[in-house]
Structures are given as C-alpha cells and as structure tokens.
C-alpha cells in the first residue's frame, strides 16, 4: 500500500467519521420576535415536578405547571389555579374554589378530583417524592398515609370545582406559603399513569402557560406557548432553554446575542455594572437566600459552649464582608430569615461586630488562646461561599487568634459530609428558599428533629417556640413566636448569619414584562414576557 493511499485513508476516515450523520439542522435561534431564550444550568435530572429539587427541573416545573396559590413579584400570595379560598375560623379547614377555565395540555379540564389525586401522589410513601413533607406534611392524615399508604384523608374533592383541605392542628401556620411552592402542582393523572415510570420524558402533565415541545438531552429544551392558558395566551410563541453548564459560557452567549436572559456570575458583577451597555441591562433585586457559617459542636469540642459560638459570631465583621468582599452587592445579615420572606424580622440588630466582647467571652469560657485549629469546609456549589469563608477565616484569626484552615471539596463529598453531621468542624454554606415562609428556614435548619439540622442544634426552648409558632391561630402570633425563636438561635450562635444575597440578572432591552421573585431562579412564569425588537 502506498504512502498516499494510507494517508488518504486516514484523512478520509477521519472526515467520514466527522461527517457521519451529516450536519444537524440548525436549531431555532430566536430570530423570530416571539422566541425567548434563557439557559438551564444543567441537564434536568427529571421533569416530574414532585422530584424537581434542582434549578433546571424547578424552572421547567414553574413554566409548565400550576399551583393552587401563586406569588406575585412582591412575594404576596395571589390566586392561581384556585380563584379564591375560605379559611375556617380556627385556621384548620381551607376551602379552595377552583377556576373553571384551567385545562391540562391534553385538553381536559382540571377538577378538584385531579387535585386530590395529585396531593395523594405527593405523599405516596411508595415513591417518596421530594414535595411530600414540604407541601402535604401539615395536612391531616399525612402521617397515617406514610404508615399505611393510600390517600391523604385531609384532602377532599367536595365537588368538581371545590377542594377542601383539613390541617393537622399542630402545623397550621404558613400553609398557603407552602402551597405556593413551585412544585405543589396539579398533574394530569392520565399522562402520569399511562406514561409509566418515565412519563415525563416526552411530554408534560401540566396546565401551565407552556408545554413541552422538545427535549434534546444535554442540549436544549423547547417549550411552546399554550394558547388556552387560563390567564390568557402567553405573548411569546416559544421558550428556548439551551442547557449550558458553564456560567461564563452563558454570559458570553448573552453578550453575543444568543441568549435574552442570564444570571450574572458574581466574579463578573463589578465589570458588568461598569459596562456602558450591559450596565443598563442589569437588574438587581433581593434573593431569599442567606450565607451562613455553621459551627458544629459534634466535631469541634469548644463549640459545645454557646459562649464560644457567640464569640465567633461577634468576631466576624459582616458589614465589612458585605461591603468589601461582595462590593456592597449583598447585605449584612443580622437575622436568619432573609427579607422577602413574609414576616421578615426588620429592625432586629442581632449580634454586633465586637472583637473585644468576643475575646472576653472566650476568656469566660476558659479557651482564650487555647482554641485548637479549626477546619472550615466550604460549599463548592457557588463562588460566594468560598469568598465569605476566606474573609471570615481571616477575621477569626485576627480577632480570636484561632487558626482556621479552609477545606475545599467537590459537591458530592461536601454534601455527604454535611448529611453525616460528624465530618466538618465548621462549614460555610447558603440556604435559599423553596417556598417563602419562616418554616423553610427555622423548622428545617435548626429544629432538633429536622434531618437538615446540620449543626445539631438541640435547644428545647427553640423547639418549643417553633412548635408553638406552627400551632399559632393567627399569622401575627405565629410571626411573633418565630421572631423569638430566631433571636434565640442567633444569640445562641446556633448558626452565624453572614450576608443576605441578591439576584443579578442580565436582560436584553427588547424583553418586556419579565416578573421577578426572591425565590427560585429569580423569575416568575414567562406568560407576561413579550419581545419587542
């Protein structure tokens, strides 16, 4: 065989391989005015709303499905699939009057029976959904369902347009906030039951403003507008959701005009704010998220003494971190529950920055100058946590003389360490709201029986206050009790709040009608969005 033939073969084989299958057709690029393009941060692991715990699956759920109660941009509860509701005087019985113009994408009308079936599925112990505890947890009969299966006794379809939900007296507070959780949606029973385990792969079972048209794995998801949406047909024809895993790539695609809406990576915030063009396209608003430092008494002996934990809190200058590390983009956090959550503890001062008092507390505790080195793990999922950890570590070293070592790990290992609770002496992480309610913070992060109480805080007084809040008859009584519990936890140094974060999004000037929110990815359903080029 001659040299040429071999070379030609090699090259031809390479080219043939390259072209096998031909050029794929170009994806729609949104040249038509009616297409709105915003990225998903990763391949959605599922499109079953009841298992949607990540942002990609959450965004899909938000756009394709309906909850009974929704949120507006200010975080207020608004009717969604229910046009109104009545609450019994004791706050235990909720009667929802459903709209008569909500249709599944299959064309079938949504009835109270569909809601009943959906709530039963949320709690179904055989499939263990991610929404069961969050949404159905407070409903009477949920605990029985967990043990014996079947439906939830507390949910009843009174007639096709009336749904009644009876609550457990010990957990009546904030129920509507839970119902506004993006995943507390109604599902089209026919689609779910006929589609088997992977019913969501090819189609959705929703009644929301958009319906799934195409899901090319690892590449993009396309949603089409649903003309019969109860609030009126969306103003855009399609939503293109390319799956782009790298934040920098998303930003570059936005700059190149390939995307209409993206989140701004923190490292680029200052540059973009100063940019004459993009600076004007930047929208900034509060996010219901806190960055906090978790002192873990189970691993780091000195943290067993509340005075030591409080000393750590007093030795960290949050205002300086917010101002210098996060260039004033984030706000120093005095309390645990962020602004944007109904009942936010405005005016609460928390623990001030007071290194002298901190040193005094260490002396009282008998550990001044004797603190062993402390390893602080950092949640790697976002850059902010590492930035906050570095600053806090330096302040602790300067003010208390404790040698803080930062531990960087990948997400899987970090998550495992967090759940084991016996791995990290301290950790810097964040918490963003699933649903806008106090219980999503205090009940989950610090209540002694919560699986997410990763600082192993077990203060009977705190638990009692939370229990009382959940059983409180009125919203104002509930809020007052939660404020007490919150102040107790802060002053106990159970967790050390650092900053409340904000969203920074870039939106093209031709995009109108985008509604923002403190939760989720920062936006509400796109049915009001229009493109006017």
């Amino acid at each position: 065989m001659s040299v040429y033939r071999v070379t030609a073969l090699v090259v031809a084989a390479a080219l043939l391989g390259a072209l096998a299958g031909g050029w794929a057709p170009a994806p729609a690029t949104g040249q038509a005015a009616a297409v709105f393009r915003t990225p998903l941060g990763g391949e959605p692991p599922t499109a079953d709303p009841y298992f949607a715990t990540d942002f990609s699956s959450g965004d899909l759920t938000l756009l394709m499905y309906n909850t009974l109660v929704g949120l507006d941009s200010a975080g207020r509860l608004v009717p969604e699939a229910a046009k109104s509701w009545d609450v019994s005087p004791d706050g235990l019985v909720y009667t929802f009057h459903l709209r008569d113009n909500v249709y599944f994408h299959s064309g079938r009308k949504v009835t109270a029976a569909d809601w009943k079936w959906s709530f039963d599925r949320m709690g179904d112990p055989a499939i263990k959904t991610s929404v069961g505890d969050v949404v159905a947890g407070p409903i009477a009969g949920y605990d029985a369902q967990q043990k014996a299966g079947g439906g939830i006794a507390g949910v009843k379809a009174v007639d096709p347009s009336t749904l009644q939900i009876v609550l457990n007296p010990n957990s009546r507070g904030g129920f509507l906030n839970r119902l506004a959780y993006y995943a507390a949606v109604v599902l089209d029973r026919d689609v779910v039951e006929r589609g088997g385990r992977t019913w969501f792969a090819a189609r959705d079972a929703g009644s929301g403003p958009f319906t799934m048209r195409e899901w090319v794995h690892n590449d993009h998801v396309t949603l089409a507008a649903e003309p019969r949406y109860f609030a009126g047909a969306p103003k855009i024809a399609r939503v293109e959701l390319p799956i782009v895993t790298e934040a920098q790539t998303r930003l570059a695609e936005y700059q190149a005009g390939q995307l209409d809406l993206v989140a701004v990576p923190l490292s680029d915030f200052a540059r973009i704010k100063a940019d004459p063009v993009m600076g004007k396209e930047l929208i900034v608003f509060p996010r219901a998220q806190i960055i906090w430092l978790g002192p873990n008494p189970r691993v780091y002996e000195p943290f067993k003494d509340a005075r030591v934990r409080r000393a750590f809190a007093l030795a960290i200058d949050k205002a300086k971190i917010a101002r210098t590390v996060f260039f004033g983009f984030y706000q120093p956090a005095a309390s645990i529950v962020p602004p944007g959550i109904p009942g936010f503890y405005a005016g609460y001062k928390g623990l001030p920055y007071d290194p002298a008092q901190a040193k005094k507390l260490l002396e009282e505790a008998g550990v001044a100058g004797k603190l062993p080195p402390l390893t602080m793990a950092m949640n790697p999922i976002a850059q902010d946590y590492e930035m906050a950890a570095e600053a806090a570590a330096a302040m602790l070293k300067d003010n208390l003389g404790v040698d803080v070592r930062l531990q960087r790990q990948e997400f899987a290992a970090f998550q495992q360490g967090m759940n084991r609770r016996t791995v990290f002496p301290a950790f810097m992480t964040g918490w963003a709201a699933d649903y806008l309610d106090y219980s999503d913070y205090l009940d989950l992060l610090l209540y002694s029986k919560s699986p997410l109480d990763r600082v192993s805080y077990a203060n009977p007084e705190f638990d009692k206050l939370v229990d009382q809040a959940n059983a409180a008859a009125t919203e104002s009584a509930r809020t007052a009790l939660y404020h007490k519990a919150e102040a107790l936890a802060v002053e106990d140094g159970a967790m050390i709040p650092i900053v409340f974060t904000q969203f920074a999004l870039l939106k093209k000037p031709y995009v109108h009608g985008l509604r923002t929110t403190a939760a989720l990815s920062g936006f509400l359903k796109f049915n009001t969005v229009s493109i006017q080029k």
Binding site: V10, T198, E246
Partner: protein, 306 residues
Amino acid sequence: MLRYLAYRVALTAPLLLGTALLIFLAGHYAPGDPVQVLLADHYTPEGAAHLRHELGLDRPLAAQFAGYIGRAARFDFGASYVNPARPVAEIVRQTLPVSLRLAALAVAAAALAGTALGVCAAVFERSAADRLIQLGVIAGLSVPSFVVAAVLVLLFALRWRLFPVAGWGHPSDYVLPVAVLAAAPLAYVTRISRASVRRALAEDYVRTARSKGLRRSAILARHVLRNAALPIVTTIGMAFGYAITGAFVVEVIFNIPGMARVAVDAILQRDYSVIQTAVLVYTAIFTFVNLAVDVSYAALNPRIRY
C-alpha cells in the same frame, strides 16, 4: 498478520474488564455518594435509604459489579442514577457520535495542516517561515486549551461575531471548538513531520534522486514523504488520543452535548453507571486506535511484519 490481529482483539477483553473493576472500586471508595447528591437539601435518612435501595446501592459490592458486567456484556448499561428515565446506552448513543465527530474533525485538521506545515518548515529550513512555524509549535504545545479557547471566543465570537460563542448543530458552531482541540495535536504533528522530513531529506537516496534530475516536488512526494511517514502516522494516532481527552475541556467550554461533557457531569454527580460506561467506551476507543496505528505500520513499511 491475522493471528496478530486476533490476538490483539482478544487482549481487549481482559483489559476492559480490568478497567471496569478499577473504575468501579475507585468510584465506590471515593468520598461522596450519588444518593447525597440526588437528594441534596431534601435529604432525610429514610429518603436516602429508599433511594439507595432503588438504585441497588445497598447490595454487596461484588453483586453490584457482577450485575453490571453481566448486563454490559449484552450492551445493557443500566439507567443513569441521576436521571433514572434515561438508559446509559441511550446516552452513549446520543453523545458518543458528537464527541467522535469533534475529535475526528480536529484530527483531520491537525493531520492535514500539521503535515503541510511540517514539510514546509523542513524544506525551507532556517528560513523566516520555518522560524515562524517553530514559534507556533511552541505556542501550540505550551498554551493550555482553555486559554486558547478564551482568546478565540473573545476575538472571533465576541469581538468580530464571526462564530457562535457556544452550541452545537450548525456548521459554524464547529469552527472554534475544532480549532481549539486541533491546536496541540497540530503543533505536535508539525514538529514530528518537520523532524522526520528533515532527516529523510539528508538521506543518500534523495541526493541520488536529485542527481538523476527528478523534480523537487516528485522527490518530496515519492521518496521523502514515504520514508518520513511512519512517525507522522504514529503521531496522528496519538493526536486522536489528544483530541478525545482534550474534549473534556473543550466540550464543557463550548457547551457541546458530547460524551466528555456528560462524563464530567457524571463524575461531579457520582453517576456511577454513566461513569463506568464512559470509561469502558473510552478504553475501547483507545485500544482500537492503537491497534489501527500498529496495523498501519505494516502497511506503510514492508520491513515491519507481525
């Protein structure tokens, strides 16, 4: 030759099995498990136990491995842990062609351009062109691909808007990633072909050919290139390796839905079934590329026989 081929192909079976075992053990003994990632902040001990059982992770390691190998032998790689609705075989079927196409385009570009540049540099040794090419080779070998990618995106996509920043599907999407992926192999092929053409040019048979009045182009094509081809072909084989591994960076940067990006995601999410299968597939590809290179030696050089 046929016996040799059969021997080499047979050798891949234990190789694949060994690789599968290694990666299986590495995955299971590395910190972090898929259940924790999947549940993330919705973790409860009961939820974790339920999921662990569903994924079969509560079975003994040996049973898990034997089950995996048994099914893999029938090309059934199970379902992704992270996305149970997707069989891994389907993921491979969708993403592998993308990665192979990207790699093949990069190798073809590197082989054609690299050989041409190398020959040019050797023929015009010590000329300005040669020095320029040499400089380019050093740059290509020493600048990491993510830097090349950033510079190319900045200039060609953001400043001049000639190509898209990222994406996959339209022919114009291919240009930048292929250029980035081809940079290092191109430099390598150029360097090797320059050296081996230079060596061949100094041989007696070239002087003989010249003295009998053959045209320079004919000498180059018929005598020099043929004798210089062996190392070049080896390098092109290795370039394929470069391109496949380089794709782990390039596919992520340019958001290409290929197998390398899926593998990176799978590693971060501890999606064992996908990781294991990706490693198996890559091992098989490398084995066969090496085999193809070895076989091509015999075709190129009659003195080599197996």
